[in-house]
Symmetry: C2
Amino acid sequence: MTVLVLTSDEDVTADLVVARLNDTGIPVVRLDPADLPGGITLSGEYAHGAFRGYLSAGDRVVSMAGLRSVWLRRPGVPGARAAVPSGWLTEEASQALYGMLRSTGARWMNHPDAAARARHKPWQLRLAQHSGLQVPATLITTFPHAARDFARRFPDLVVKPVSGAHPQEPPRVVPTSRVAPDVDFTAVALGPTLLQHRVDKRADIRLTAVGDRILAARKAVAPGAHPDDIDVRFAPSEEPWRPVDVPPLVAEAVHRYLREAELAYGAFDFAEDPDGAWWFLECNQSGQFGFVEMDTGQPIARAVADWLAGP
Amino acid sequence: MTVLVLTSDEDVTADLVVARLNDTGIPVVRLDPADLPGGITLSGEYAHGAFRGYLSAGDRVVSMAGLRSVWLRRPGVPGARAAVPSGWLTEEASQALYGMLRSTGARWMNHPDAAARARHKPWQLRLAQHSGLQVPATLITTFPHAARDFARRFPDLVVKPVSGAHPQEPPRVVPTSRVAPDVDFTAVALGPTLLQHRVDKRADIRLTAVGDRILAARKAVAPGAHPDDIDVRFAPSEEPWRPVDVPPLVAEAVHRYLREAELAYGAFDFAEDPDGAWWFLECNQSGQFGFVEMDTGQPIARAVADWLAGP
C-alpha cells in the first residue's frame, strides 16, 4: 500500500517526510499535480460496476486500489506546466485527478473538503469556542457603528485579514497590526474587517497536531519588545522556539477541534497571557512546521510520516 | 426562523420559490453576495464564548441565530459589485460571509462542501456504482493506449468534458459528442478525456430530487432522430418532457446517492435504453428545474420551498 505525496518539486519539508518513509520501506510516490498532463499519466475506468484507476510518473505507478494515504502538502495547480495552459485545462485536470483520488478509500492529510472548510476564520473562531478553547473577543464587520461599539468595549485592538494570505503570486502575508485609539472605522464599510481584543502576550505558542499527537513550542516575547510588534512572523526577535507542555484542558479542546474539523494535521497559534492562559488565534491546516522542528528538535516530520504510513 | 436565499438578482426560478415561501408566511431574506460589501452589511461578534451575527440588506435583517435554512442557488461572487473590486476583496468577503454562515446550525440546500465535492465527475461515477445505479462503461484518461484499448472493447463511444461547463463568462456548455470510429486518441495525452460507452437511448430522463422527494420526467427521442444528436441540451427536438414513474430500484439507489453525497437537491440525468433501463449520466447539484416544471407541471419549486421551510 502506497503513500501518495502531492507537492511541488521544491519542498524541503516534504523531503524530510519522504526520506523517513523511504527509511521504513513504505512505498511512496511523490507527484506535483502541475505536471498533469505531461509528466503525470492518469487513467480510471468505470465498467461493470467496478473501478480501476492509476497514476504514473516516470517509472512509478500507483494503483488507486493500492493507495494507503494521500498527503496534500503544497500541490501545484493541475495543468500549470502544460504546453498550452488554460483555465479550462486546469479545471479538467483538477476534476480528473482529485475526482479519482476522492473515489478511493485512502486516508487524507488533509482531505480537500476539510481543508477548504478549515480556512474560514469565522468558522474557526466558532469551532474553537465550541471546543473549549479561549478565544479573544473578535468582531468581523462591514458596519462602522458595530466596529465603534466594539472598540468602546474592547479598547485595545488588533486588526488582521479575515482570510489569511493575500492571493497574489507569491502570496503576501498581511501582518496583524495594532489599531490606533483614534481610528473612526468608517472604512470598514469598504470590506469585512476583523478586529480582535489584543492579548497582552508573554509568548507565542505554536501547537502542531498530527493525528492524535500534539507537540507544542513556545517563543517568549523578548524583554523590552515594543507592544506594537504583534505579529510573531514579523517581530524582530532572537528568542528561539522551545518545547512546552500542553495544558491538559487545552489538549482536550484541541482534540475536539480536530475531530469536529476532520483534520489529520493542524498548526494552532495561541498567545500566552501573563497568567499563562493560551488564547486561540487560528488553526492553519497547512501550516509549516520545519522552523519549529529546527528550533525544538520535536519529531514532527516523523509524526507525519508515521501517520501517513499508518494502517 | 428565516430562510436565506443567496442568488443573483435575475433568477426567475428563485422568484417562484420565494413567492411560494411568501405565501406560506415564512420570513425570507434574499441576497446576492456580489453586493457584499455595499448593499449588504455583515457583522459577527465572538466574545465570552458566544457568537452573535447578522446580515442585512435594505430594511431586512437576518440574525444568524434565527436562520432556518440557506438556499445556495446562483450566488454572485462576493465583492463583485464593490466600487473597487479585487481578488483580495473577494477572498475577504467570501470568507467573512460563508465563514459566518457555516458557523450557524442552519440547513443548507446544498452545503458548499457537499456542492464542491458533488461536482467531481469521477467521484459521481463511483458513487453511482456504489449506490446501485447502472453506469455506462467510462474511461477518464491521459493515456492514449488506454483509450485505444477501451475503444476496442466498447466501439461505440461518446466524449464529454470531465468537469462540465467551460469556465468562461458566461459559461459555455461543451456538448457530449459521438467519437468517430477512426480516431487514434493520441491527443488524450494533452488533457484528461472522458470517454463513455454510448447508450442507444430511447429517451432522456431528468430526475429531480428535493430532500426525500423525487420527481422524474422523460423526453422521448424523436422518431427518426439522428444518432449523432447525443446531447439533449442541443438536440433539435419538439418532444416535451412528460412525468414518468421512477422504477423502485432506481429510487432506492438515488436516495442512497443523495445520503452519501449529503445533498438536499440533485438533478440526475439518465439515458433510457431500449429495454427501459435507466443509465446514470450525471447528477448536477445545482441543475435547473424550471424547464421540467414548465413542461410537466411537477411542483418542484414548491418542493424546494417546502424543504427550505422545514423544521
